[in-house]
């Protein structure tokens, strides 16, 4: 290994300097405010978890986990997501009484990046989980809350694509018969490789009707009308149940009045294996990567309790990028003082602080480049020299 420079940080780790911190804080608080208004309560979990429990449950690729050992030799991970730790707490503590629990979090998660190492390996997620509630109204609430949060953050050009993991899974099983064959085809969807998907379908020993049904899946995206197309290619059973759920979801979303932001896409199958129902991804106009995602999951079962839950997570860095130029007003005042007028300066400072105004107290002799320093403030007061003359 080459010698490190003293200022170096581990790959993918970033500093947040004051200006960016303020912007992040602003966006975070706008979203958090919305989540709180909808009655979601914030909570925290530890940064380190056991590899065998949360690490294994998280569905983040093993190679992306940061691992270390504790004194007893247990493997620990830096939490790669927040859903799994919350599922852990939920199973052991929060769901003792049998009613819905609405939780929110804003926390940094850690995922080692294999490609282009400079991509953030630690990033902030803000999100919610609604636990022990399995109605479609709740799925709708989560989608509507995601939309409401993004709007509140100041985003205008965005879209939430909604799908259902049960649909493709059931369609594949109906046509292909075995889980193994279904998984082989599903892999192409996860990789977004539609060319490979079509080639694979055409290579299978199937009737042309069945082949068309599988290929049609790729075209099922758009507004309410695609639900009808979905009905045409699925037989009764779980697949139909998935469409009925999406239909109901559409009604819920219309009742919330946010349907303009929502489109269906039946080809969304998350690589996260714990999703069990409605899933969604949020995209914004000027960012190539998804801003956030979520859906219904059965993860809590892995921690020993049967409870359905749904939630979403927004990536704060992507959201910031999508928002573009957030110009923050500089409203900090600087009071320069000389020793003989120090007390007077402190009193003025206290007065301003009491009024909720930001004021820096700076002894004038401590500043070398006064011109450059002064430019950093919205206003200045000089209390120097004898009393009275400014």
């Amino acid at each position: 290994m080459s010698r490190l420079f003293m200022f170096e940080k581990p790959l993918g780790m970033r500093d947040t300097l004051p200006e960016l911190y303020e912007k992040k804080h602003l966006v975070r608080s706008r979203v958090a405010e919305t989540l709180k208004l909808w009655g979601y309560q914030f909570m925290e979990t530890p940064t380190l978890e056991y590899y065998e429990t949360v690490g294994a449950a998280s569905a983040i690729d093993d190679a992306q986990l940061f691992k270390l050992l504790d004194k007893e030799g247990h493997t620990l991970v830096l939490r790669p997501d927040m859903t799994s730790p919350i599922a852990r707490v939920a199973a052991s503590k929060l769901l003792d009484e049998d009613f819905p629990v609405r939780l929110a979090y804003s926390a940094n998660v850690f995922r080692a990046q294999q490609r282009e190492g400079g991509r953030p390996a630690e990033f902030e997620q803000i999100g919610v989980e609604c636990l022990n509630e399995d109605t479609v109204s709740c799925d709708g609430e989560i989608v509507a809350l995601l939309i409401s949060s993004l709007k509140k953050a100041g985003l205008t050009n965005f879209q939430v694509s909604v799908g259902h993991v049960g649909f493709a899974q059931e369609l594949f099983l109906q046509i292909l018969g075995t889980n193994e064959r279904a998984t082989a085809l599903r892999k192409f969807l996860v990789e977004k490789n539609y060319v490979g998907y079509r080639e694979h379908v055409n290579s299978l020993q199937l009737s042309s009707i069945d082949k068309q049904r599988l290929i049609k899946l790729l075209q099922l995206r758009g507004g309410e009308e695609v639900l009808e197309g979905a009905f045409e290619i699925i037989e009764n059973g779980k697949g139909k149940k998935a469409i009925i759920e999406l239909e109901e979801l559409w009604n819920v979303i219309q009742d919330y009045g946010v349907e303009e932001y929502v489109k269906f896409d039946f080809s969304i199958v998350s690589h996260m294996s714990y999703y069990s129902g409605i899933v969604f991804e949020a995209y914004a106009g000027n960012v190539g990567f998804p801003l956030g995602n979520g859906g219904r999951y059965s993860l809590i079962e892995k921690f020993g309790k049967k409870a359905s839950a749904t939630g979403f997570a927004i990536r704060v860095d992507m959201l910031l990028e999508a928002l573009g130029d957030l110009s923050l007003e500089n409203d900090t005042h600087c009071i320069f003082f000389s020793q003989e007028r120090r007390k007077e300066a402190f009193q003025l400072g206290q007065k301003m602080h009491k009024q909720g105004k930001k004021a820096v107290l700076q002894e004038i002799s401590g500043v070398k480049n006064l011109d450059a320093f002064t430019k950093r403030f919205a206003g200045t007061t000089f209390l120097i020299g004898g009393h009275g003359d400014e």
């Binding site: 490609r115 050009n157 965005f158 879209q159 694509s161 977004k192 490789n193 539609y194 060319v195 490979g196 080639e199 995206r221 758009g222 489109k263 896409d265 991804e281 995209y283 914004a284 106009g285 000027n286 960012v287 190539g288 990567f289 998804p290």
Partner: protein, 212 residues
Amino acid sequence: MNNMLTIAMPKGRIFEEAVELLRKAGYQLPPEFEDSRKLIIDVPEEGIRFILAKPMDVATYVEHGVADVGIAGKDVLLEEERDVYELLDLKISYCYLAVAGLPNTKMNEVAPRVATKYPNIAEAYFREQGEQVEIIKLNGSIELAPIIGLSDRIVDIVSTGRTLKENGLVEYKRIANVTSRLIVNPASYRLKDAMIDQLVNRLNDVLRGGIK
């Protein structure tokens, strides 16, 4: 930029075929299109901006969303594994990835070496064969490597096989067929769905017509 579609085009070999395909699909591209040295060409009548990139970089532009759509070889997609939708096989620029080397030679037992422009593809291929080889990344003239003794084998794209022949190399194994693909950024696929669907449909019409 929201009502414009940005298409990343690969410079070089694939470019002319890709332009021809787009013209067949009814896109009105200016006649001097091919000769231009510009890296960005706007065609406002069609609502399209073209960016001209190194073929190997097309998928990168599209993954990051600075291009909504791109035309990239399957070789690039296999090598780069970018998070993009691979929507259409454009059936142009046919070639294939192959393992080649000097005739009647075996891999060196002590230090088997493979030279390639595609280190990920080569590594994955030999790993699947259960062979551990040293991958040597080169940026061009790969055929040189076995001739002068840098490596035992190369992994490269072959279109007619002429380059191999002229340099006295033979093909040992085909790895994968390669054609150009239409790729799309996941966010653009959602937010510019109407424009992208239109492009896909028009290209599909040409492709179907071309298959006879």
